[in-house]
Subunit: 128 residues, 2 copies
Amino acid sequence: MKTLDATFSALADPTRRAILARLALGETSVMELAKPFAMSLPAVSKHLKVLEHAGLIARSREAQWRPCRIEPRALKQVDDWLEHYRRFYDESFDRLGDYLKKLQAKEPGKAPKGKAPKVVSTAHDRKK
Amino acid sequence: MKTLDATFSALADPTRRAILARLALGETSVMELAKPFAMSLPAVSKHLKVLEHAGLIARSREAQWRPCRIEPRALKQVDDWLEHYRRFYDESFDRLGDYLKKLQAKEPGKAPKGKAPKVVSTAHDRKK
DNA sequence: TTGGTATTTAACCGAGTAGTTATTTAACTG
DNA sequence: CAGTTAAATAACTACTCGGTTAAATACCAA
């Protein structure tokens, strides 16, 4: 997918991730975003353009300011991509104990007694 | 963090993501990994080096083959980073209905009756 | 040792990236 | 209007990246 290229590429730069971290606290202007960095304003402006192009932020207009805010779409896409690999690092995957606990939690009184079938994935549990 | 730079940068290339997708099916050789791509073997070898440097894969030795496999560490780091932004795109955040459902699921019979306090984050629920 | 297979390294090229300074656009303000 | 502030664009430079081909390395097998 084309957008994933742009998104991962945008996230590869520490300045841009720092900008996102700041925006997680709330919408703000370019000046404000630039303050923590030892670089020119045009440089920050470029970073913002990269983030915007990747769908990670959106910009509006307010007098001479261009407040930026986080745009969730691209982040969601990254999370969806990660979904396919979660079983490799998430401890709650492929472990019978956790699986049974989850079953019990969701359907009290329905926990299986015998041997459970091999659990391939339980990732979708997260979403609701 | 230095490693996040390398990891996001590595993931920004579609060839490298395709390689990871193949490795999700199981350990395999460089030849095998290179087959689907219309590029030279050295090019694939370079991609593998990038993935290895980013901590996304690990390589072993078996006769003249160098089988590659997924290394979960870096993927986990990406997931941990995403954690801070999940509330922006995950529907199960900041919504009373889902929160109550979760509470009910985890502690049957303990669901609150009155107005619930503002839910700031429920992300940690995922991990167990 | 000679040869075959798998993989990496070296040297190079064209395109893209992250930064700079200087200039320009856009909007408010007196 | 002129002046000020916020931000984007232009033009440039140094460096990185993804690919190439040709050569080198590592291991097995006869």
